[in-house]
């Protein structure tokens, strides 16, 4: 098996030559950048030991292609589906895509739509700590998903993307690039899944771009094996009067580092940043966020819910940044930790940096146990304690899912959460 540092076999790369050159430069950058250290502010509280990636190797093509395609089932009704396994395309279906919508692998888009690719692919600077891992991603990404929705086009039914990893110590570098044209709208559900319960590395990047008046609902269902080390670096750019609702459900991963940036660059832009995180055992979910208000009269609303059991850890470090010109900003940031065990370790660092006076901002973090009265009431109806706790956690997450407007999507996510919590 080859290591991460070695070049992937030439035959596997369908990238255009110019991008392959960029990948070589990115690999050099990855090697040159220092590993994060405990004293780095952006890695405060993080388990630095989890960042040793020496055990992971380049993934080989998936062995259980048919099974993975069969298991790539989500919503009952979709307009298109892309299935990728170990960085390669397994299936593309697009029965109901409106004219002009481009939905293909990122690798294909680099050749077919080089202008769009060059303009939007990893166009944002990595500001939340993971420059090194962003470089690794760029150096090694292949496959990937590319979605372009032309102006004034509505994709009514959701689009689903499944990105699989298979094999012990395999590495995947999923990338989802979504470009929403002016006044377009779409809903995308992006699933990250493991074919087996084995250690793996996932180092993914998302770029979401919403042009004026666009509406995007983006759901990431991160369901890697609990043995997986995962990085998910997300950047969202919201232009004038556009609205992005993004929800990240971290169901899996042993060590998960999420960096979520949302930049509001046009007046009236709106960004909702949601996350639900059931954590147990020794799992660690480390999330750093930035709500960057560049334009005036924009809104950002962040709500992260963590339910911590066992010896699990969560880290939330969030910053609302209001740039000097961003008067009339509405920005909210809230993290709620539901504590299910004395050994759980929630770390919350909400933050504000306000360079304009005419703003409305609030931020806060709360820690609370499951209410003893609620547990007693459920017990009084015969519900065992463990089940009662899971019902409370389920209710905690459902309170956030209630904010999604699309009813079939909400119901689907509710059933995924219920399944994750083993509630029949």
């Amino acid at each position: 098996m080859s290591t991460l540092m070695e070049k992937p076999a030439a035959a596997r790369s369908a990238w255009p030559a110019w991008f392959q050159a960029e990948q070589r430069a990115a690999l050099a950058e990855y090697e040159a950048l220092p590993a994060p250290a405990r004293k780095d502010e952006s890695w405060r509280f993080a388990n630095i030991k989890a960042l040793d990636l020496s055990a992971f190797a380049e993934a080989t093509p998936v062995a259980s292609e048919t099974r993975l395609i069969q298991a790539s089932a989500g919503l009952a009704e979709t307009s298109a589906k892309l299935v990728l396994g170990n960085n390669a395309l397994l299936l593309r279906e697009a029965p109901a895509l409106p004219k002009g919508v481009i939905f293909e692998t990122l690798e294909a888009a680099a050749s077919n739509h080089a202008d769009l690719f060059k303009k939007y692919f990893m166009a944002q600077p990595v500001e939340l700590g993971s420059r090194k891992f962003a470089a690794l991603h760029k150096a090694r990404t292949s496959g990937g998903a590319f979605l372009y929705i032309p102006a004034n086009t509505s994709v009514t039914l959701p689009i689903e993307i499944f990105q699989w990893v298979e094999g012990a110590n395999a590495s995947v570098f999923p990338h989802t690039l979504i470009i929403c044209g002016e006044n377009s709208s779409a809903t995308v559900v992006d699933y990250f899944k493991s074919a087996d319960r084995l250690p793996a590395l996932a180092c993914g990047v998302n770029d979401l771009h919403l042009a004026r008046g666009a509406r995007l609902t983006y759901i990431a269902v991160q369901d890697w094996s609990h043995e997986t080390t995962a990085f998910h670096l997300n950047s969202t750019i919201v232009e004038r009067d556009a609205t992005c609702t993004a929800l990240i459900a971290n169901f899996g991963g042993g060590f998960v580092r999420g960096e979520n940036l949302s930049r509001l660059v046009g007046e009236g832009a709106r960004s909702e940043m949601f996350s639900i995180n059931p954590v147990e055992g020794t799992r660690e979910i480390d999330q750093r966020t930035l709500q960057d208000h560049v334009a005036p009269h924009a809104t950002s609303d962040l709500l992260y819910l963590n339910a911590l059991d066992g010896k699990s850890r969560t880290i939330f470090a969030g910053l609302i940044k209001v740039e000097p010109g961003a008067k009339g900003t509405d920005a909210y940031q809230k993290v709620k930790n539901l504590i299910l065990s004395d050994d759980a370790d929630p770390n919350s660092m909400p933050g504000l940096e306000i360079l304009n006076d005419e703003v409305r901002c609030s931020h806060g973090a709360t820690n609370g146990p499951v209410s003893a009265e609620e547990l007693f009431y459920m017990a009084a109806r015969g519900i065992p304690k463990d089940k009662a706790r899971r019902l409370v956690v389920n209710g905690f997450f459902n309170s956030l899912l209630a904010r999604l407007e699309n009813a079939p999507l909400r119901t689907h996510l509710e059933s995924l959460v219920a399944a994750r919590l083993s509630i029949a």
């Binding site: 017990a379 109806r381 015969g382 019902l391």
Partner: protein, 252 residues
Amino acid sequence: MSLKIENLTANIGDRQILKGLNLEIPKGQVHAIMGKNGSGKSTLAKVMAGHPDYEVTGGSVTLDGLDLFSMGEPDERSRAGLFVAFQYPMEIPGVTIANFIRAALQARLPEGEELDAVEYYEELYKKMDALKIDRKFTSRAVNEGFSGGEKKRCEILQMAMLNPVYAVLDETDSGLDIDALKIVSDGVNAMRSPERGFLVITHYQRLLDYIVPDVVHVMVDGRIVMSGDKTLAHKLEAEGYDWVEKETLATA
């Protein structure tokens, strides 16, 4: 076969609330408890349900001979056939009524057996219709934002779905309007059977016109001090509790 409470004593903190309480409800009967505010009626209900705030210091409660206090957690008592409709039902944000009752029923099935969802909803809707509870309530969080009367009706719905052997209703009539009182009483009366016993805690004789009790007990300061037939409730309603306290002091 009975629900039997013998010499029960219980504390909250250092304070003794139940002071040697004796009561037996034979299966098939409805007993009522009346008593002043603070006499310990709800304490009795919650002690039986296993509320963690109360410490049982002596005595026993048995369900058809089964010792309640030797059961581990409160959920076992419920599954053994005890139901308590609370005076102040708790709210559970985010857990819908439908999922709540379903989990309670599922907990009564043997390991590995799944509740039939279609049958469950049929049954639930039937009982909701009978209690005139809007079907929309199935997707509302348990008791969250419910009016006082809605909470009480929801308690009775739970009882109807769980089919207990012994049910304790703590002031289920408080907060109900006249129509709701009839509906809820009908619901309870429909469940009266030789296979089931009821303990109805109330302040109002009126309820006992609808749910006619076999025996009425008077509770004073953590004890049952007097028992009689339904006419006792009329006398209490007309004359209050002072005479009871005088009489019992005289005989003490």
